[in-house]
C-alpha cells in the first residue's frame, strides 16, 4: 500500500521469473519434455553435419550412375545432374544448416533429391506404418512368448526342460538378426521352398485395396510373415533369459513366501505376486526397444524386400539423398526418445514406488 509501485514492480518481476524457473525445474513432466526437445535438436544437428561429411554427395552418386548405366560422358552427366537437383551444395554449411532449421521449425522436412516433387514427409507417411506394423507385431509376439517361456523356465528350473530352453534362448539372442533373416530366406525360401518368397516381397500384394477386410489383413500378415518371424526369433531369447532370472529372484522374495503362508491360491501368487513384479523391469526394456523399431529394421527389410522405412533409409543413404536421410534419422531419434519417455511413464504406472516421484 505505502510502497511506491515503481519500487515494487522490478522486484516482483524478478520474483515472477524465478518462480517460473522453479516451476519448470520442479515440474517433472516439463523438465523431461525440455530435455527431450534438446536431445532431438542436438542429434538432428549432429546428423545434419555428419551426413554431409560422408564421402561423395548426391550429385556425384547420380553422375556416376549416369556414366555407368547410360554411358554418359562426365560433362553431360554433370549438366544433367545440375538441372535435376534444386539444391545448392556449394553453399556454406552454416547457410545450409540455417536454411534447414528454418524449414524444420515450420515442420517442413524438405523434398527428396532423387524423386523431385516428393516431400520427405510423404515418404515417411507412406513407409513408416509398414515398419511400425511389422516390427511392432514381432516385438509384442516375442515379448509375450519370451515372458511366458521365461516364467516357465523359472518354475521348472529343476526339470530337464530348462537347460534346453536356456540353450535355445542364449543361442537365439546371440545371433545377429540379419543372419537369422538370411538363414530363413535361404532355407525356407530357396533350399526347401517351403514359402513362396517371390510372392511375399513388398508390404502387400499390388492392387489390393487397404480395408478392414479379412482378405487385406491376411495379405499384410502374409507379406510381413518373414520379417516378423525374424524379429521374434532374434529377440525372444533375450526376453526369455531376462524373465527367467527376474522370476527366480522374485520367487525368493519374502512377500512370495508370505503369500504362500497366507494360503493364497497358486494361480494368484503366480500372476499378481510373482509375474507382475518379475515383469516390471522388462516393461521398461520393452518400451525402450520400441524406440529401436525403426533403426532395427534396416537390414531385415532389405533382405526380404519389405517396403518399410528401413528399406527407404538404405536407398536414401546409397543415393546420398540428404533430406530423406535427415527425415528418417529424425524419426529414429524422436522415437527412441519418445519410447524412453514411455518407459518411464509405464514404469511409474506399474510400480507404485516410482509413482511418487512422477507426481511431484
Amino acid at each position: 500500500m505505502g510502497v511506491p509501485s515503481a519500487l515494487r514492480s522490478p522486484k516482483s518481476a524478478s520474483v515472477g521469473t524465478a518462480r517460473l524457473i522453479r516451476r519448470i525445474v520442479s515440474n517433472y513432466l516439463l523438465r523431461r519434455l525440455l530435455k527431450a526437445l534438446f536431445t532431438v535438436f542436438f542429434v538432428t544437428t549432429l546428423i545434419f553435419f555428419l551426413i554431409r561429411l560422408m564421402p561423395s554427395n548426391p550429385i556425384e552418386v547420380y553422375i556416376n550412375e549416369l556414366i555407368v548405366q547410360y554411358g554418359f560422358s562426365y560433362e553431360d552427366a554433370r549438366n544433367q545432374a545440375a538441372s535435376l537437383f534444386a539444391i545448392d551444395l556449394d553453399a556454406p554449411m552454416a547457410v545450409q544448416y540455417l536454411d534447414f532449421l528454418r524449414h524444420l521449425s515450420r515442420g517442413d522436412l524438405g523434398n527428396s533429391l532423387r524423386s523431385p516433387g516428393t516431400t520427405v514427409l510423404s515418404v515417411i507417411a507412406k513407409f513408416l506404418p509398414w515398419t511400425l506394423f511389422s516390427v511392432g507385431t514381432g516385438l509384442l509376439l516375442s515379448f509375450t512368448l519370451g515372458v511366458s517361456l521365461g516364467m516357465l523356465m523359472a518354475y521348472k528350473r529343476e526339470s530337464s526342460l530348462e537347460p534346453v530352453l536356456a540353450g535355445i534362448g542364449s543361442f537365439l539372442s546371440s545371433v545377429p538378426n540379419y543372419i537369422i533373416g538370411i538363414l530363413l530366406l535361404v532355407f525356407l525360401g530357396v533350399r526347401w521352398e517351403l514359402v513362396p518368397i517371390g510372392q511375399m516381397r513388398g508390404s502387400m500384394t499390388p492392387g489390393i485395396k487397404p480395408s478392414l477386410t479379412l482378405e487385406f489383413i491376411s495379405d499384410i500378415f502374409f507379406h510381413a510373415a518373414l520379417p516378423i518371424a525374424t524379429y521374434v526369433l532374434t529377440t525372444v531369447g533375450g526376453w526369455m533369459l531376462t524373465m527367467k532370472s527376474s522370476t527366480i529372484s522374485t520367487l525368493g522374495e519374502d512377500y512370495v513366501t508370505v503369500a504362500r503362508a497366507r494360503g493364497l491360491p497358486e494361480t494368484r501368487i503366480t500372476t499378481a505376486y510373482v509375474g507382475r513384479n518379475a515383469a516390471l523391469p522388462l516393461f521398461t526394456q520393452l518400451a525402450i526397444s520400441i524406440g529401436f523399431i525403426v533403426g532395427g529394421s534396416i537390414l531385415i527389410e532389405q533382405i526380404f524386400v519389405y517396403q518399410g522405412i528401413g528399406y527407404q533409409l538404405l536407398v536414401a543413404i546409397s543415393n546420398r539423398d540428404y533430406p530423406v536421410m535427415q527425415g528418417i534419422f529424425l524419426i529414429i531419434t524422436a522415437s527412441v526418445i519418445a519410447s524412453n519417455f514411455l518407459a518411464d511413464f509405464l514404469y511409474s504406472r506399474l510400480d507404485p514406488r516410482v509413482r511418487i516421484v512422477g507426481r511431484e
Binding site: 519374502d254 512377500y255 508370505v258 507404485p352
Partner: protein, 365 residues
C-alpha cells in the same frame, strides 16, 4: 482329513487333549547341502496350550525358524522332513499337518495357523495396496462380503493402533517398518486363527517400536485368546511375553517349562548360560558371562549330548549318550543328565545374591 489313532504322545501333558491345539513330536528336518545333510531340527517335541504364549529361544542356527516353518509346511525345497508328527486340533478333531493334501494345507495356512515373519519390510507385495492384499487373503479362504471384509480389516488396523483409513489405502512402501509389522499382525488376525506363529517379529525394529509391538501382542492375546508361538533369541522379550519357554539347542528342545521356572530355576546348563549372557541395566559387567565355544556344526554333530563340548558339567556319559527330554519337576522338562547339579549350583548362587538385585534383573509385571 484323516483322524489319527490315539497314541501316547501326550504323556507329559496335563489336562485334556482338546486344550492343546498344536503338538509336535520327534520332528526331524534336514537341509540338503553340498557338504552333506544339515540337521536343522533333530527330534524336537513340544505342546502348545490353548491361549498360551510359548516362547522358543536359542542361538541363531538352533533350528527355531526351521521348526516354525515346518509347522505350516513352508520349508524351502532343499528341506526334507525326515520323520515326526505335527498334530493340529480343533473342535475335537485331530489333523496330521504333515499329511494334509495341497488344498487342505492351503486352507490350514493362515485360517488355522498364521505366521508373522521377521522381515515385515518385505512381507507385502510392493505393487498392491494393503487393502488388496487383505482382501486377497480372505478371498483365498472364505466367500465373504467385500464390505464386511473391509470393516473387519479396518477394525483390526485400529486394534493394532494404526490409522485404518489411511493405512488400508496405502502401498507397502508408504509405511514404516514398525507400521508394516503391525499391518502384518493385523493381517494375521484377519481370519481369526487359533494359532499364531511369530518368528522374531521385533528383531528388525528399534527398541521403542519393539516395546509397542510387545505391548500390543500382549493386549491382542488377552482380547482375542489365540495361542502364540513366539520365536526370539531375545530372552528379555521372552520373559515378558511368554507363559512357557522352550530352549532349543542344535535342533532339539532341551528344556521346557513355565516362564518363572525357566528364569528363576533353570535346569539345563545351556539355558543357564543364556540367562547369564543377558546384560541388565543395573547388573554391571562382572555378572555377564557368555557360553564358551561356538554353536555346533549341524552337518558333523558331536556325539552324545550335543552341548557337551561347551558344557561345564560335561561328564563321560554326556559324550556317549544323548539325554532324553524328561520331566524334572511338575511341568518342567529338561534333557540333561546333570540337571540336579545345575539346579543345586544355581540355588547356591541365588542365595548369595540379594533378592532385590534379581528382581531388577528379571522384572515381571
Amino acid at each position: 482329513m484323516n483322524r489319527r489313532s490315539a497314541q501316547p504322545i501326550l504323556t507329559w501333558t496335563e489336562g485334556p487333549e482338546a486344550d492343546v491345539p498344536l503338538s509336535v513330536r520327534d520332528l526331524w528336518v534336514e537341509y540338503r547341502a553340498p557338504r552333506g545333510a544339515v540337521k536343522a531340527v533333530r527330534g524336537a517335541s513340544f505342546d502348545l496350550y490353548k491361549g498360551e504364549t510359548l516362547s522358543l529361544t536359542g542361538e541363531s542356527g538352533s533350528g527355531k525358524t526351521t521348526l516354525a516353518l515346518s509347522l505350516i509346511r513352508l520349508l524351502p525345497r532343499s528341506a526334507n522332513v525326515r520323520k515326526g508328527q505335527i498334530i493340529y486340533r480343533r473342535d475335537g478333531q485331530e489333523y496330521d499337518v504333515l499329511s494334509l493334501d495341497a488344498g487342505d494345507l492351503r486352507q490350514f495356512r493362515w485360517k488355522e495357523c498364521a505366521m508373522v515373519f521377521q522381515s515385515a519390510l518385505n512381507a507385502f507385495n510392493p505393487v498392491l495396496k494393503i487393502w488388496d492384499q487383505m482382501y486377497d487373503t480372505v478371498k483365498a479362504h472364505d466367500h465373504s462380503e467385500r464390505e464386511e471384509v473391509r470393516r473387519r480389516a479396518l477394525d483390526l488396523l485400529r486394534l493394532v493402533q494404526l490409522e485404518p483409513e489411511r493405512v488400508i489405502n496405502a502401498y507397502p512402501h508408504e509405511l514404516s517398518g514398525g507400521m508394516r509389522q503391525r499391518v502384518l499382525l493385523a493381517m494375521s488376525l484377519l481370519l481369526n486363527p487359533q494359532v499364531i506363529i511369530l518368528d522374531e517379529p521385533t528383531t528388525a525394529l528399534d527398541i521403542l517400536t519393539q516395546r509397542t509391538i510387545i505391548d500390543l501382542l500382549r493386549k491382542l492375546k488377552e482380547e482375542l485368546g489365540f495361542s502364540m508361538v513366539f520365536i526370539s533369541h531375545d530372552l528379555s522379550l521372552a520373559a515378558e511375553l511368554a507363559d512357557r519357554v522352550a530352549t532349543m539347542y542344535a535342533g532339539r528342545v532341551v528344556e521346557v517349562g513355565n516362564v518363572y521356572e525357566i528364569f528363576y530355576r533353570p535346569k539345563h546348563p545351556y539355558t543357564l548360560g543364556l540367562i547369564k549372557a543377558v546384560p541388565t541395566v543395573t547388573g554391571g559387567f562382572q555378572e555377564l558371562a557368555s557360553i564358551s565355544g561356538s554353536p555346533p556344526d549341524l552337518i558333523n554333530l558331536p556325539t552324545g549330548c550335543k552341548f557337551h563340548p561347551r558344557c561345564l558339567y560335561a561328564m563321560e556319559r554326556c559324550r556317549e549318550e544323548e539325554p532324553e527330554l524328561i520331566p524334572a519337576t511338575k511341568g518342567h522338562l529338561v534333557a540333561c543328565f546333570c540337571w540336579e547339579q545345575v539346579q543345586a549350583d544355581w540355588d547356591r548362587e541365588w542365595q548369595q545374591r540379594e533378592p532385590e538385585a534379581m528382581e531388577v534383573a528379571w522384572p515381571r509385571s
